[in-house]
Symmetry: C3
Subunit: 343 residues, 3 copies
């Protein structure tokens, strides 16, 4: 699809400085702009590139004054990044929407499928499962018996949702995610063998949750593993049985949260963090990447680092001394000698 500068300016309420008939069919970074692409200048550090980019259309701030000639057509707006993001959404809406149910999908006769859905090739939907209106279910997705997928949610290729799990509305679940596998629960026997503890609960994702590729969220032993509204999970994260994650908490890739731990709202958890089981983490807590959390964090807004983690400022001080330990130890030896001389 091609758009003219005139069309774009009218969509974002901008004013054109250059050729209103300039046409673009794709987007680019400003430093990689090519004829036919549109870009934007929001960060002043990138201003240099506006004089060299070959992009045909560039969104700039209303106040931007070029110091040299610019080859592309400028569209001036109050907030170029926001305007660009809005255009991206328009563009995305034109390419994303798929509709219709593939003939190769295997849908149980007892499943209830909403209106205006997309169900791709080789999708498997179990007994009494529910797929809401406008949901997109891509190739190779498995939806187990009695599982429910909310309206407008998107399950990308190969997502597996075990039986009885519930996914809210407007969720986005990326390829390879596994929702509702058994929690890791075993009872040690006198024989030193382990006996499986039946995992009889489920997983509930509330609305507007996004889950990154190949992340796993285990079903509860009893009750539900719960991911609250607006939570964003990155790729390859492990969420164990009976965990609960509060609203609008974001967690970076490869973090693992052990069983029955309860995370507050609006937390920010870095990548490769490990949190042991049965803890409570307060609201607004920030945890630095690679930290290990061995105790509950009761103070809202705490910022911690380390494995085991403690407050970030003393952690950083300790770590600076750790780097200097060889000098510190030498100083101690030196002091010792000076004392020996006195004795």
């Amino acid at each position: 699809m091609e758009f003219s500068a005139k069309q774009i300016a009218s969509l974002i309420n901008g004013t054109i400085d250059g050729n209103p008939e300039a046409r673009v069919n794709r987007i680019s970074k400003i430093e990689e702009g090519q004829p036919g692409s549109m870009t934007f200048l929001a960060n002043p550090l990138y201003t240099q590139y506006i004089y060299t980019t070959a992009a045909s259309i560039i969104l700039v701030n209303t106040s931007f004054k070029p110091e040299k000639p610019v080859s592309g057509t400028l569209i001036r707006v109050d907030d170029p990044y926001a305007a660009f993001a809005k255009l991206l959404e328009v563009y995305h809406a034109t390419i994303r929407q798929k509709e219709g149910i593939s003939e190769s999908a295997a849908i149980s006769p007892s499943a209830r499928i909403g209106r205006h859905v997309y169900i791709g090739p080789f999708v498997s939907i179990g007994e009494d499962a529910v797929v809401g209106d406008h949901a997109e279910i891509h190739s190779h997705v498995f939806i187990g018996d009695r599982a429910m997928i909310g309206e407008h949610s998107v399950l990308h290729a190969g997502v597996k949702v075990y039986r009885d799990c519930v996914i809210g509305r407007h969720c986005i679940i990326h390829a390879g995610v596994v929702i509702g596998a058994d929690g890791f629960g075993f009872a040690p026997q006198d024989t030193l063998e382990y006996k499986k503890v039946i995992q009889a609960g489920n997983v509930i994702l509330e609305d507007y949750v996004e889950v990154g590729a190949n992340t796993t969220i285990d079903r509860a032993t009893l009750g539900s593993t719960i991911i609250r509204k607006g939570v964003k999970l990155d790729n390859l994260i492990q969420i164990a049985h009976n965990v609960e994650i509060g609203e609008n908490t974001v967690i970076a890739a490869q973090t693992g949260i052990s069983g029955s731990t309860k995370i507050g709202r609006n937390c920010m958890i870095g990548g490769q963090v490990g949190i042991i089981g049965h803890l409570t983490i307060a609201d607004n807590v920030k945890i630095a990447a690679q930290s290990g959390i061995g105790n509950s964090i009761t103070e809202a807004g705490a910022i911690v680092q380390g494995s085991p983690a403690f407050e970030i400022a003393p952690y950083r001080k300790s770590y600076i001394h750790f780097r200097n330990l060889d000098r510190i130890v030498k100083k101690i030896r030196d002091i010792e000698k000076r004392i020996e001389k006195k004795e």
Copy 2:
């Protein structure tokens, strides 16, 4: 399915204290009990909830004496948790069992398929592969040429088993697991490129192994990567080529074990642990979460922590001092000044 207190009591040899006709159709945690649900009281810390729960049936210890009125029907048994676990198994058996072969499965004519199996939609089974009696193979599973799946084993949706790999009896493999991908073996060339080393071995899982979602177990370069009887692996674990894991060892999520390392029996390995290649870990060893193992552990029953790891007690002492390093360094400066005054 509904069960009455009378039916339940007879299954677990309990005595009824209340209405023998009370009926339940689901299970719940005691603090979340609703009319129609059954729960149990095993942990004394939860005793308070027995007076507020709305559950219709509650399993309690024979010796339990209520201090206030309880609304639900009590069933008294010697071990409420064990009785509850037994009921869970009965319940689970009623919902889990699937049988029959989906018409959409692609099964090689040379594959041998046992009796009473379940083979779900879009399952792909290669040449000369074997699926044992009573196995459950769920949607989108891939079983490569000559691979063997033992009796009573369950492969959940989307499991991929490469050619020539062997899975024992009574194993449970969760969704997204990859068994038998090539080990990470490359020979550096003078050109600074890497040449792939053919991975010609396989993976063997013995009986009663459970593997968590999206875990990967690589095939051996030569010979076999071996997971011994009763091993339990959590989600997102990496097992490299030619690793061997001893009987009844349990490993928590996101741990990685590098090539040719041999782990003993009855070990307990925490989450996000890394173990480098070509090591030997003795039996009964415990490794704390996030530890890094850089050397063999020859002492059976050792407990270690840290990256690199050493014995857990001195590790914890060192870490307490690490937290105090700023104070320690200040004390050294103070001592220095006091000496200077003397000199």
Copy 3:
């Protein structure tokens, strides 16, 4: 397939010492050799096994002089490991090649499929996608609209390639890999909710890239996430949006690289390493397992360890002192007392 010692010797230009009609149909490690298997002796530490192995054929060095009787037939070559690797490749070529397009594959009429390809059961290929000559696309692979797969590349079972992504020639992508899922980009709102930032870019893998099982490589926000020629990625790795990895860099399992970080050529990155976003890592850098990289590394060839990481030699010194901290602290107390006595 069976091979005789005579056939094998002629393939690798070896001389036979024993029965030229000895026959083998598989390969083994020397310590696990069985009648009918072929093995090799390259590492002198394994010499003891040549006297006990039951392997029918053993490749040995031209100069090898047995000190006791050997039961198998020897084939003498200049470099037994290289000869064995060559035979492995011949063997592998005989078992690996699959050709033909499965009737159950769902291929868009607008997709362009090359010659001599293998397309397995339940493969889904989108609109205007391209699959090059001699490519192998195994069961349950999803190739999105307009995605391109280069000649001779192998996509193992269940790989998911989102729309518009590009995979070069001679790549090997293992089962469960997800290429092109959305980057983890969200704009915080005044309501404390997060608004998704459209991820409009793609992923480009150049030629000869290998990607391990269940690894995830996210699409760029704008532009491309780029994996350069000859890069080797192990299992369960996370590559975030707009990352670039230089030629012939190898990365071990479970490492995560955050958004927009640029890694140089010929780097070696250990397992479970975390690298934060927007950094630059120079060429030939080595990073020890479990390290955390919080700052750019500008010195080519640097070797670092720790979280946060610094140069490996001082890191190791610091860590030795860390292990001794309890003794160090006791010494400080001792010094303090000796001073007090003087004061």
